[in-house]
């Protein structure tokens, strides 16, 4: 028994310990707490959290070890072979009670007022273990009289603190902001900000979520309800493709809270600001509640009934339109809806013109899918983090997929591995990286080509001619990327020296598709060198991967099966429309007018479409141009499935009915189909899902057993939910790099993407998130700001060819010189006006306003 290595590679040794007389075998170095919980014994804790560093401060987890006189904190004591642990002796019980009595000695005891009342860990513990009577008669120590706000979303009452310091640790170890500190000591220790000042942080509220008591509280949720009044639904955050599981809760029809749960979903307790505070869009006043129709050619949109809207559609949308009809579905719709959408377009309207999203070129998407091995099944982010090297490229992951970033930070801090980040802008994750490459926007191709050349140097060195040729090319690539040979060599060395590599490739590859080929080449090259390479896409729309897998793409149908005759993608459809040859366009849940790069072109094209139907939850830029607007449902109002960037299929559940006359998108699509073909179906989400499972081997045995219980053993990785691989013949087209050109007049190259607090234009309807924004910003590097005499917070005029806008300047240390960033989310500063179709990254200049 005991001391037997079970896995010679991992060098884990199993030891046998006795817990309350029950013998169990666990890995060496397991904490007593985990061992006891595995064995089925309950040990109360405040300060312990599996993914945070143990500090053993709350002393609730004290246990007795036979032969030791003093009790030991089980959350920081590892097991030893042969020890005997007792967790329920009178000594332990009385120690727990005494600890609680001490905690209550200075606790504010204002439970009736406290928002945590009813779901407070301290309440529960005292109820269960504690003395129900305190003996402390002395006046209580108070940090302050009134609660104070730490940010627009956090309000704080330190008098309730139990000094578990989870808030400080989560801020440092998981979120990486490190803006909370433990000030003072002993019972006067207060976790708070610098001089209790307003925090300049990510406002993700993870400190609130981990707080066991009512010390950190949500400000938007303040004094609105009691937890027992809330009705909740398990859902998936709709704001990026990380796919965080969360619960949204409403009281009397108003959604007032979104929360994550410890050990549930891949995100466990963490969410970002968008997920935790972006729920306000559900109850927004601006929601579409009734169909709108344009009764005259250039008239206004007027409310109408569903019958009228459908009648107009039937009159004006040709049922056998062929190539002059097209459909664009947003990647926020549920998988079932997307499946039915493409079925509607392909089978009812008999058109191959379907595409998802509103920004990427369809051919680029196809190449990206092939380069990132999406057709080969899901790749878990936790598996990626087991690699020797993680290479993040083409994504501002800290802002676009914050929770993926938390996972990378947390896991990379705990093991020896390389984290390599390549991107033009500085980001929070840089502090976890051991190699940073700052290249120009749209220069991923040049960087990757340079690395490929360098890795291949050994082969090439044999011939002097080749070396010369290589150097010439290498210089060109380095110049285009704005990097030095040392940067590239460092990267190549790290890749060469790693046995397993995970490449996380972001949406920049879709924005500037000429990098896709190099990405694929690097992947193949590394594989040919015998390395284990995993590729994971980093996407910014919740169901983007689901949309592609459902075949909402002109070149392939569900399951990446090649379409017999490829149709037009969004670019093609817009071009056709601009040529006056688009009869009808059906856009569901997408907003190309606001997001397609080149606003003038997309607006002209959409206004030339003879009949435009838009289905959305808000009156978007696109919907304003429509002839018929159909009100759809938000993520809180439907049942369905979303597939995240890893290929993890997860379920969302309905919390509320859609507002007013709005309908669930699936019902709208089905009703539209039935209008032309009585047998169009299946009739509900469950039946659609059955059809998907039957038709698509990828989804055939995906486990959707919706499990909102804690995952066993703190393992957040539910591999059964990953989609399976399939055989797909996808082609990677060669894209020419669009010339961006040097221009002394416009010194900055413009990068765009999602802001940390926003996802597309959708989150603009959340007041809390807008308050966090404090206005629209343009971001440049510290050196550039210094050189041009501009200071952070100043109003600046950003002008490019043909468009200029006044924004607030933010300055970031570590961003590449000559790079300016404007998020694509601002209504009043549409960044797509800077872009020209078919051109590279636009150039701008920034002057004092």
């Amino acid at each position: 028994m005991g001391l037997q290595p079970i896995n010679p590679y991992k060098r884990y040794i199993m030891v046998t310990v006795k817990i309350n007389g029950k013998e169990i075998t666990v890995e060496d170095n397991t904490l007593i707490l985990d061992a006891a919980r595995d064995a089925g014994y309950e040990i109360p804790t405040f300060c312990y959290q599996a993914d945070l560093m143990g500090i053993g401060s709350c002393r609730m987890c004290l246990v007795e070890i036979e032969g030791q006189k003093k009790l030991q904190p089980s959350c920081v004591t590892p097991v030893l072979h042969g020890i005997s642990i007792l967790t329920e002796t009178p000594t332990v019980m009385s120690a727990r009670a005494s600890m609680l009595e001490f905690l209550l000695a200075n606790h504010a005891m204002d439970c009736p007022v406290c928002d945590k009342g009813g779901e407070c860990e301290l309440q529960d513990m005292v109820y269960k273990y504690g003395p129900h009577k305190g003996r402390h008669a002395e006046p209580k120590f108070k940090f302050h009289e009134k609660d104070y706000a730490l940010s627009p979303v956090i309000i704080k009452n330190s008098n309730r603190c139990v000094q578990c310091m989870k808030c400080v640790r989560v801020c440092r170890e998981v979120v990486g902001r490190n803006v909370l500190g433990a000030l003072g000591r002993g019972d006067h220790q207060e976790p708070t900000s610098f001089f209790r000042s307003f925090l300049d942080c990510d406002a993700d509220g993870n400190c609130i979520e981990v707080c066991p008591v009512g010390c950190f509280m949500r400000l938007p949720y303040r004094y609105k309800t009691r937890p027992w009044d809330l009705k909740g639904a398990d859902t998936i955050c709709p704001y990026c493709a990380t796919g965080c599981r969360m619960v949204i809760e409403h009281r009397d029809g108003e959604v007032i809270r979104a929360r994550a749960q410890l050990g549930v979903g891949m995100n466990s307790e963490t969410l970002c600001a968008r997920g935790r505070f972006g729920y306000e869009i559900i109850n927004s006043e601006a929601r579409l509640t009734t169909p709108l129709v344009r009764r005259q050619r250039h008239g206004t949109l007027e409310p109408a009934t569903w019958e009228e809207a459908f009648r107009i559609i039937k009159e004006r949308m040709p049922s056998l339109g062929g190539n002059t009809v097209g459909g664009i579905a947003g990647a926020r719709l549920a998988t079932e809806e997307l499946y039915l959408f493409q079925k509607l377009m392909r089978e009812v309207f008999k058109t191959p013109n379907v595409d998802s999203g509103s920004r990427w070129d369809a051919a680029a998407v196809e190449g990206f899918i092939a380069a990132t091995d999406m057709a080969e099944g899901g790749v878990s982010v936790f598996d990626c983090m087991e690699a020797d090297t993680v290479f993040v490229i083409g994504s501002q992951v800290s802002e676009e997929n914050p929770v993926t970033e938390y996972i990378i930070r947390r896991i990379s801090a705990g093991r020896r591995m390389n984290v390599i980040i390549a991107g033009p802008r500085a980001m929070k994750l840089d502090s976890s990286a051991n190699l940073l490459l700052r290249h120009y926007p749209a220069a991923e191709a040049a960087l990757l080509s340079a690395v490929i050349l360098d890795i291949n140097a050994a082969k090439l060195a044999a011939s002097a001619d080749l070396t010369a040729a290589k150097d010439a090319k290498l210089d060109g690539h380095l110049k285009a990327a704005g990097l030095t040979i040392d940067d590239v060599r460092a990267l190549a060395t790290k890749l060469r020296n790693s046995e397993s590599i995970a490449i996380m490739a972001g949406t920049e590859f879709l924005r500037y598709p000429h990098g896709i080929e190099s990405l694929n080449l690097l992947k193949e090259l590394l594989r040919s060198l015998g390395k284990k390479v995993r590729v994971m896409p980093l996407l910014d729309r919740s169901n983007q991967r689901g949309a592609w897998e459902m075949g909402v793409h002109p070149a392939f149908g569900p399951g990446y099966v090649k379409a017999p005759a490829p149709g037009l993608g969004i670019s093609g459809m817009l071009d056709a429309a601009a040529d006056n040859s688009m009869d009808a366009l059906y856009i569901a849940g997408a907003d190309p007018a606001a997001l397609y790069p080149d606003e003038a072109h997309v607006k002209e094209a959409l206004s030339k479409v003879r009949f435009l139907v838009v289905q959305d939850i808000f009156l978007t830029e696109t919907a304003r141009l429509a002839d018929v607007v159909l009100p759809g449902a938000s993520f809180a109002e439907k049942d369905g499935m979303l597939t995240n960037q890893e290929g993890r299929a997860q379920i969302i559940r309905k919390l509320l009915p859609p507002p007013g006359k709005a309908k669930v998108d699936l019902d709208i699509i089905r009703a539209l189909g039935e209008m032309y073909d009585r047998s169009f179906g299946p009739k509900n989400a469950a039946l659609v899902l059955d059809e998907i499972r039957r038709a698509q081997p990828m989804y055939a045995d995906v486990s959707l057993a919706f499990n909102n219980k804690r995952n066993v053993d703190n393992k957040l990785d539910n591999k059964a939910a990953l989609v399976k691989g399939t055989k797909a013949a996808l082609t990677i087209r060669k894209f020419e790099q669009a010339a961006s050109g040097q221009d002394a007049q416009y010194p900055f190259m413009l990068a765009t993407g999602n802001h940390l607090f926003h996802s597309g234009r959708l989150t603009n309807y959340s007041k809390t998130l807008n308050d966090l924004m404090k206005g629209m910003t343009v971001e440049i590097s510290e050196e550039d700001a210094l050189a041009s005499g501009l200071a952070a917070g100043e109003r600046v005029l950003v002008s490019g060819a043909g468009f200029s806008v006044t924004l607030m300047l933010t300055v970031k240390k570590g961003t590449k010189r000559g790079v300016a960033f404007i998020a694509e989310n601002f209504d009043a500063a549409p960044v797509n006006r800077f872009f020209r179709k078919g051109k590279g990254a636009p150039r701008v200049k920034i002057t004092k306003a």
Binding site: D110, P112, G117, R222, Y223, T225, W228, D229
Partner: protein
């Protein structure tokens, strides 16, 4: 045992034969008729009104502190404790000093049609804000008026807390545009004879 039971039965039989209970009742009734100084009936509502004891469980009241601040902190424990779910509380933040804390009730209403006056809300209240008062004239013409909201319940009670109750007060019936009401004169009371 059997013996005892047998004797009991015989006693019962004798009582029945002699109409003992009937006579006892008659004595009480007759007693009221002959003694003219004590009237057992209350001339409600025209002349008199019963003022209950303090422990009486009538219409809810929401109390204030001596300096007029609301005691209710909208903790919702009353609504949670309520077996008939007749209390609705919606809290809000208020920094003007309306309540004893910055959490006060935006809505506090009780549906008297459902309420069974058990007093659990009173027991649950951590600040003794909600009490079951001595108001018992709750009849009204439609169901909506049976829902009493915060403003009404915060009004001072017609019967002050100091008064121990258990008396009959002089009263008169008044007809108002809203309906009828019985106005009691608390200075003139008499003990009710039972």
């Amino acid at each position: 045992m059997n013996e005892g039971k047998g004797r009991f039965d015989i006693m019962e039989l004798i009582k029945k034969v002699l109409f003992t209970d009937f006579v006892k009742g008659l004595v009480i009734t007759f007693g009221y008729n002959v003694s003219m100084d004590s009237v057992i009936t209350v001339k409600y509502p025209d002349e008199e009104k019963w003022i209950p004891y303090r422990r009486f469980r009538g219409l809810h009241t929401l109390n204030r502190t001596a300096d007029g601040r609301e005691l209710c902190v909208a903790c919702e424990l009353c609504s949670k404790a309520c077996p008939t779910r007749c209390i609705t509380v919606i809290p809000m933040e208020d920094n003007t000093g309306r309540g004893i804390s910055d959490r006060v009730a935006k809505v506090w209403k009780v549906d008297l049609v459902r309420c069974l006056f058990c007093g659990y809300c009173e027991d649950a209240c951590p600040t003794r804000a909600v009490r079951l008062g001595r108001e018992y004239e709750l009849a009204c013409f439609d169901r909506n008026c049976a829902v009493k909201n915060r403003e009404e319940l915060l009004r001072p009670q017609p019967v002050p807390e100091e008064m121990s109750g258990g008396v009959v007060a002089k009263a008169r019936l008044r007809t108002t545009p809203d309906g009828i009401e019985v106005v009691a004169d608390l200075s003139e009371t008499r003990k009710r004879r039972v």
